[in-house]
Symmetry: C2
Subunit: 548 residues, 2 copies
């Protein structure tokens, strides 16, 4: 390799006459990019066994997603990799905490095995909050000792998002033990500010991907956190946060998608979409690309990528124009990633072990001032609303108050019932076996019958996304832990579209499954619903549906 | 600590009403800096057991020297620390390769023990080139296995400057073994460019502190190297290189002093001097301070310092004005570093084992075109000059061609003789036991008698810097490995001044000892002289004094 870099031996392939993005200067270098054995030799006057002319084209280091839950795509890791690779992504930093909540170490091991077979580099962080909080036990509990057996494995980079902010602030010994597992520790602290944020950072958390306001992101950046600006299916923060990124701060800012469905990935893209959106909101393409390449590589200590410098991996993509950023070709370790065929998937053991609840189990009673979860467009935070109503009024289609049911999928147990404003359905119901992070079955609908029918279909399919509208029932089976489908990604995207088409006919909001799937996530403010009932994210405790 | 950060318990001390430098934004934060147990709690509305009002003052994170050879200060590590601490430095990244060339592992162990007793944090890199090249054996040879026993020790960060560029380019297995010792590897590649530079970087070298031209530094930065902009006693690169530093590049640029005598450190300062000089040459104080704080912390993976953010070490200094940057107070782990008294020093075993050479041993013969080393003002590189002359003409005071003698200090052996242009002495001689990196005795003078007298005094003192002018002989004893003095730093600085005063009376250049001490360093172009004679740094081989 050294002889080849010196030009004493030919390169494997030389990309001639390209403009190559240089993240160290945020400028473009002109020249020929030489590759050998999957690594960059350098840019210079090289000759190669093969030559590709790149006149008028732009070469960009492989894009990196700083924080993603692959499970949220509804695709298995290898299928996810096959999809995002075509958008220029060559590395993702994934936290497998969805499947870990369902199936613990077994689930993690399933994801880790994909590391070797995937079309891109999937690097993992150990899920730090399984369950998300001690009260939200799903299918598994992972303590520091459970995580330690994965620590040091190939593909494990550090500790994933520490969502248990109250636990950190209370110096919980179990959390402290997890924080000691690695010197790379991702944070998750939506809305945390002032001295409590100081304490959270002091405890060792280094990044945040939950900022929704500029002031929040600015405070966290100033206090030394890496800021992952997130653009997912519902969590869209680029417009608000992108003014944070300047030449002086770009080395501390990355992109993350966190949670993106397969259809959005297929239609709109992945990190390439983040770049386009950032540019659309005024960021220079150069700073946007820096955010997507060297910045996450530096944050995670990946000195082997993030730039097309000598000795680094030849992971890159070719675009015609940095502004429009349409990816033409993608290379990983110097080899072009082509659209490939679906890899047969390893089956996952059954993970849904409950019966369909009775009509009584999902009934409510009471009246007065009710706590109602308010959906916030494009965000996973919710508001805590109050409506004067009576149990018999529900569903209240005029005021858009619908019943939400959470049914424990791991055992037969009482259901949790809440109310939500914002779905705007006029009829029908939806349900799914994805509900962060315990991944019980969650459903919302305009009648108890429709809700029960949807839940029934989820259970029958051993996990699924279901929409019920009159006599019509549409199902996307999620046969892998009730989270992911083993179908090829185009088929998953097609079925998602059908699901969304049906949901749209119910008269409701766009993307209702994504909102629904986050309604049980107690670590995000303000009001939530779990299998125990309504949860107040401000006081961090279960509360009754009616105030009195 | 977490409770204190949350404001539930008082801080130990609060610095109120300060402007605190924020290297994440390169801006100043206004507020109260709270400290407890030597660490930062945060900036905010904190109360403390003690309060210091900092109205109108500026607080800056403790300064970091990215690359230094402490031995070059002529001070022992604890004495060096006592001096630079007063200039705002709280961390240095030191390569103990001077003493390692003299005394191998014994020398390294001597330096490492200082780590615990010093007023600042002295962190070490393992010296990768002892000797600098296979031909330049001094008192020791350190192979990868010898270094490995220090690897992982407290205070060891990685592998120090890899100066053997030809060895790297030839894929020498011994060098490869050293490169495998750590994932932090400092480079040293003066003038290396193009494809050979690519190969050097591909081999794993990540930084360079040897750039002397803007184009060289820009190329290395573009290719992914961290650039340490050096300002030492003779190596002064700030003026030329500082335009490289922009908001987009500052995270990859640091300051280094490499080699600084005690008198310069006392009179002109340390990294504070680098900041002042950078500002004088047009850099904003904010970028200069970023270079001196967070950038080296990031480069060396020191996430516990470089910024005054929650949980980081409370290492900082207070200045009245960022432009003039005069350090008023320095704190390490939250405690003020005060001017302290000299710590009694541990003696070092004898390291000079040769006799004074005979007059014949330093005579030369021949005539014609002679190779003459040309000094370059303020640089350690030399030029390779040619003068038509005869051996009898030397010294040629009119053309400023003086004899340089290198005398092996480890055993009785033939002397190496070279010629130098640039010292400009009219009479007298100087000699010292510091001559990078083998640290043989090196002398230059206007007569063989004066040269032999100077060498005699160096040997008698078991290492020293000596100036001989007529009947006057001035000595700074370097009783610690012939490199460092165990005297207190003010006394070392005083004696250096006397040495320089005498040398000035010889009619020569300023700082002749620093130039002299680098004349034997074969890894720096172009022409050198070792105990074997003249060395051509371009062809990397010994050559005769006369061309024919």
């Amino acid at each position: 390799m050294i002889d080849a870099a010196r030009g004493l031996e030919p390169a494997d392939v030389v990309f001639e006459n390209a403009s190559v993005f240089n993240p160290f200067t945020c400028l473009w270098d002109e020249g020929s990019l030489a590759i050998k054995n999957g690594h960059v030799l350098g840019i210079g006057d090289y000759s190669g066994k093969m030559v590709q002319d790149c006149t008028g084209q732009y070469i960009v280091p492989g894009l990196i997603d700083a924080h993603v839950h692959i499970e949220s795509s509804l695709l298995t890791p290898t299928e996810y990799a096959r999809l995002v690779a075509l958008h220029g992504t060559t590395t993702v930093i994934a936290d497998p905490h969805e499947i870990a909540n369902v199936a613990g170490s077994t689930g993690m091991a399933y994801m880790l095995t994909a590391h070797e077979r995937a079309a891109i580099d999937i690097l993992y962080l150990l899920p730090s909050c399984v369950p998300a909080t001690p009260a939200d036990v799903g299918g598994a509990v992972l303590e520091a000792d459970d995580l330690r057996r994965f620590n040091g494995d190939d593909g494990i980079l550090g500790l994933g998002e520490m969502m248990n902010v109250p636990g950190v602030l209370a110096a919980d010994p179990g959390i402290a033990a997890k924080l000691h597992l690695s010197c790379i520790r991702d944070g998750h602290a939506p809305g945390l500010t002032g001295k409590d944020l100081n304490a959270y950072i002091l405890a060792g958390l280094q990044s945040d991907h939950e900022c929704t306001t500029f002031a929040e992101a600015e405070e966290k950046l100033k206090k030394g956190m890496y800021i992952f600006i997130r653009e997912g299916s519902t969590e869209q923060n680029i417009e608000e946060l992108i003014p944070l990124v300047t030449p002086a701060t770009v080395s501390r800012c990355c992109f993350a998608t966190d949670d993106c469905h397969a259809d959005l990935l297929m239609d709109a893209g992945h990190i390439d979409r983040c770049i386009r959106r950032a540019v659309a909101h005024g960021l220079s393409p150069e700073l946007a690309i820096r955010m997507a390449t060297l910045s996450p590589a530096e944050r995670f200590g990946l000195s082997d990528r993030g730039a097309l410098a000598p000795g680094r991996r030849a992971d890159f993509c070719i675009v015609d124009d940095p502004e429009t950023f349409v990816v033409r070709q993608v290379f990983r370790n110097g080899t072009e990633i082509k659209a490939s065929s679906h890899v047969p998937q390893v089956p996952f053991p059954p993970s849904v072990h409950c019966s369909v609840p009775s009509r009584e189990a999902i009934s409510i009673s009471g009246n007065g001032s009710a706590r109602v979860i308010g959906l916030v467009p494009d965000q996973i935070v919710t508001t805590s609303l109050r409506y004067d109503c009576s149990a018999e009024d529900i569903p209240d289609l005029d005021r858009d108050i619908l019943k939400v049911v959470v049914c424990n999928r791991y055992r037969d147990a009482p259901c949790g019932i809440g109310l939500a404003h914002g779905f705007a359905f006029r009829e029908g119901s939806i349900a799914c076996s994805i509900s962060h992070d315990a991944h019980n079955i969650i459903a919302v609908g305009t009648s108890d019958d429709a809700i029960l029918q949807a839940i029934h279909q989820v259970i029958r399919a051993q996990g699924a996304m279901v929409a019920v509208l009159g006599m019509e029932t549409v199902i996307l089976p999620l046969d892998c832990a009730g989270l992911m489908s083993t179908l090829p990604y185009p088929e998953v995207a097609r079925r998602l579209k059908v699901l969304h088409d049906v949901a749209r006919k119910m008269g409701g909001i766009e993307n209702p499954f994504m909102y629904l799937s986050f309604l049980a996530l107690t670590v995000i403010p303000s009001l939530r619903v779990t299998d125990r009932g309504v949860f107040d994210g401000e006081s961090f405790r279960d509360v009754p549906l009616f105030l009195d």
